[in-house]
């Protein structure tokens, strides 16, 4: 795909390369905030700068604060499995957006998802290795109001669709090769900060809190999420199917509703 350069720096830079090069900001305010969050989430532990083991991509300026696309990728070094990534939106009212757990941490993973951003903030990814190290990297994102943004655009349709899932796969999936799948779950993911101006109350928080992905019964990805995950949660993730089989997703929301769906995956012999 050819970048379209007609709309200035922000859009031309939305391709990830320039973000990875220059999105991080470590101003004093961001440092102070991070110290608070480190004590909150990783008390008593050391958090090192990540280096190449985990990378994070995020737009420098978001086009929709309730739908900020981010991508996190792990690159485990030999002998160092990366078993989890904590995604934190530092200045959100509930900063910990989600924890991604990779049962097979020895292979690289890449996950795309979308977050709500309530105020200009660092988004921080903290990877956890099998031997207990914590490795962080951050990107500064300009966006505001994502947690209180009125939603969804069509409430009746959203209620009808709640819990419905979609899986998008590439046209061919090769045996033993990584393939990127996209999972979509229809859910309003109410944050608890959205005010119903007509009826004068805060809509109670109601969001997807866990998502488990299995392939032929083997865990691929487990997600624990909080209110910063966008409406209609979307996850791109990789699977490495050794043979054809069934991809199964089980999700649960904060009202205890369980959503289950499975899809057959056909694989073609890899070249």
């Amino acid at each position: 795909m050819r970048p379209w350069h007609g709309i200035g720096l922000a859009a031309a830079c939305a391709g990830m390369i320039c973000l990875a090069a220059g999105g991080a900001v470590a101003g004093p305010a961001e440092e102070t905030r991070w110290q608070v969050l480190q004590d909150l989430y990783f008390a008593g532990r050391t958090v090192e700068e990540a280096g190449p083991v985990v990378s994070l991509e995020a737009p420098t300026r978001a086009h929709d604060a309730a739908l900020v696309p981010i991508r996190v990728a792990t690159a485990p070094a030999p002998g160092v499995a990366v078993t989890a990534v904590h995604l934190i939106v530092d200045n959100n009212p509930v900063p910990l957006a989600m924890v991604l757990r990779f049962p097979d941490g020895t292979r690289p993973h890449a996950v795309d998802t979308r977050l709500r951003v309530d105020a200009y903030t660092n988004i921080t990814a903290v990877a956890e290795t099998a031997d207990g190290r914590l490795l962080k990297t951050a990107r500064f994102v300009k966006a505001a109001g994502g947690c209180s943004a009125p939603s969804p655009k069509n409430a009746q349709l959203a209620a009808l669709r709640l819990g419905k899932m979609k899986l998008n796969l590439p046209e061919t999936v090769s045996t033993g090769k990584p393939a990127t799948a996209q999972l979509l779950i229809s859910h309003p993911n109410y944050t608890g900060f959205q005010y119903d101006q007509l009826n004068h109350y805060y809509i109670p928080a109601h969001y997807v809190k866990t998502i488990g992905v299995r392939y032929n019964g083997e865990p691929v990805l487990d997600v624990e999420a909080d209110i910063s995950m966008s409406e209609d949660p979307s996850l791109h993730f990789t699977i490495v199917p050794e043979k054809e089989g069934t991809l199964e997703v089980v999700a649960e929301d904060t009202k205890g509703r369980i959503f289950k769906e499975s899809w057959p995956i056909r694989t073609t012999p890899g070249s």
Partner: protein, 282 residues
Amino acid sequence: MPVTEVAPGVFVHAGAHAETDAANDGDIANCGFVVGTDAVAVIDTGGSPSVGRRLREAILARTGRPILYVVNTHAHPDHVGGNEAFLPDGPAFVGHANLPAALAARRDHDRRAYEEATGRPAADRSPVAPTVTVSDRMDIDLGGRVLELVAHPVAHTDHDLTVLDHGAATLWTGDLVFQERAPAVDGSALGWIAVLDTLARVPAQLAIPGHGPPASPWPDAAADLRRYLKGLVADVRAVQKAGGTIQQAVATVPPTGGTAWRLIENYHPRNVTAVFAELEWE
């Protein structure tokens, strides 16, 4: 304020193709009025009380007939911000059945945006909400001139209302038609295309767009917008079919019509993002 009489008794003020700032005070959308033998109907009121007051002065300078109706085509602040200027006339404020909810939902956001853009405090109260709502259609008789108001399904927003002046064969589209200024998708691109199909069959010779010249021939006035929306849908679908992400769509999907759209850089990336989320659930 300058107004153009685009058809007998039909007056339009064309707003600037700019974002709201201290100098224009929200005079960035089209607004106007229709004069019958008995009464006047105002259609949209500009982006602030000061624009509404100047529109009201323009009306009083041309007719002594009473202002009995203020119609809002949708809730965006550049179209409803001048409503309060007409309170002294005691008109019926008329809008789509979903307009009250949209005004309420946007209130805090729009007040903050106005204050940031102009450096002036926003009025304490919300834009005046409708006293009469339309869930399907409704006629307004101004004396020798009947306006047909139609409430549309989700398109530019989920509360778009058009006004058809049968006698003058003139259609007030609100923001269902953008000309020259970049469109903003705040509802559904697919729904918007469908509503444009419906409107193409309306018996009007002239359209008064929400943004653009005071009036232009109908249905050609919607041609650029239709191309833009169809291009957006097709291009975003292609990115999705190739397994692409929102970021990739924002970086690669060009606006059909390009920089001929004024302010396109402010709206196109946002439109791509919104349409991407919309089309994922087709």
